[in-house]
């Protein structure tokens, strides 16, 4: 009699702990996903300022700068159309990343440009912005993987249904070109 009662209490306690663990991971995953959004927005807000700051020094590379502005405006527009367009949003953001990395490569090509303070700052800000987005995605992927693993593992999987735990999708690079050009090379200064 007592044994059964104790066993029941232990099982109930475990179910509560497992349920709460899953909910906590779920919310962490949602939050990590929102963090990517925050960093993307930050990039949108930053780009016009950065481009304005270096416009004078980089007059001869107008097309590169214009490409960045255009890609940025496109990304803002797609983002404004609503959060459902995940595919389009990620395409626009990837295009923006591409334009920015071309700008960085251009700056690399002119050592005398790097000597002026503005450009050095631009380079640092761009690198940091791209890093922030990459790290936000990395955190999301790490958290989502933890969440996915937890809800599939026995015995937590038994309460996964009660907690409405569903597999979280990982963030992947869709653009093959972006995968081929590693950004890391640019940041190695």
């Amino acid at each position: 009699m007592w044994v059964v009662l104790i066993l029941a209490v232990v099982i109930v306690l475990w179910v509560i702990a497992a349920y709460n663990g899953l909910i906590s991971l779920k919310n962490q995953t949602v939050n990590a996903f929102k963090q990517i959004d925050v960093q993307l927005k930050r990039r949108h807000d930053l780009i016009p300022n950065l481009v304005n700051a270096v416009k004078g020094a980089m007059d001869f590379e107008r097309s590169t700068l214009e490409a960045v502005i255009q890609a940025r405006n496109q990304a803002v527009k797609v983002n404004a159309s609503g959060p459902d367009n995940v595919k389009q949003i990620s395409q626009a953001e990837n295009a923006l990343s591409g334009a920015l990395s071309r700008l960085l490569v251009t700056v690399e090509r002119y050592p005398e440009l790097k000597a002026t303070g503005n450009i050095g700052q631009l380079q640092e800000e761009l690198t940091s912005t791209e890093n922030r987005i990459a790290f936000a995605r990395q955190l999301y992927n790490d958290t989502a993987t933890q969440y996915n693993t937890k809800q599939q593992q026995f015995p937590t999987t038994l309460v996964a249904g009660v907690a409405h735990a569903e597999r979280a999708d990982l963030w992947e690079i869709e653009d093959q070109a972006e995968r081929a050009v590693p950004q890391v090379d640019l940041s190695r200064r």
Partner: protein, 315 residues
Amino acid sequence: MIGFILFFAWLGFGGDYIWAMSTGHHPFPWLGILLTIVAIVTAWYSYKTGPEKVLWATGAHELIDPQTDAERQLVNVVEEMAIAAGVPRPRIWIVPDDDPNAFATGHDPLDSHIAVTQGLLRICNRDELQAVIGHELGHVKNLDVRLMTTLAALVGAVLLVRDGMGRMMGRGRLGRDTGRRAKDAGPLVAILLALWVISWIIAPLVTQLLALAVSRRREYLADDMSAQFTRNPLALASALEKIEGAAAPTESIKRGAAHLCICDPLGRRLTNNEGWLADRFATHPPMSMRISRLKGMGYAQLKKEGGSFTSSALG
């Protein structure tokens, strides 16, 4: 923390017990109560004021409005790593010292501080700085900072109490009296007395060993966390190599805060030796072991990605 308070309670009540046994009558255990209260107050006070004390002791100043490129880069790197770790941005401090080193302090991720020396900013490139900051944020995320900062303050407090008590006992009749009467009271009391006296002598050593044991294990963990955040263990390896190469003692970081730093600021050669004794007394695992562990991680990663190891990967 609890161990610390219990240890002090043993010192106090043990003293009372021996006192009672040897003198025959039963006085009020004032020593035990006093010492326990002292331990609790010290522990609480260390916990509360630890971060400020550590930062103040190193002469660090907070970086609020970055002026130079290096400072701007530091702020950016810390913010990036905070995103990667999923913790709020810690407050950033700069220690005016030319020797490369860094440490983290604070109570929890919501209230944390990261301090780097000017020397570190000078010799590290962006990736290496990122790796070092990742290591420190690893400490923050693991709540090591709370434990280690409190330990830093406690080590100092124990030394202080021991010295104070030692002076009191040496001057008063307490020491001589208990010693003589214990002999009459039987072997059990004598053994207890011996144990008690030894405890007093080794008290600072025990607290220090505790701090060291905690610290060494946590260093490996923080190295791993840094690799997890940056996905670039080789950057930390090369940062550690640079820091080790510059290994002059960091003058502004005192003994008590040594276990908070990324590498032993006292420049003890012990850190590089292996073996039982070195393992016991160093605040950090041997640098060569940390570096080779990180390089192992880095090579494994490169192998998986199908790349080849080049010197450029080391920055």
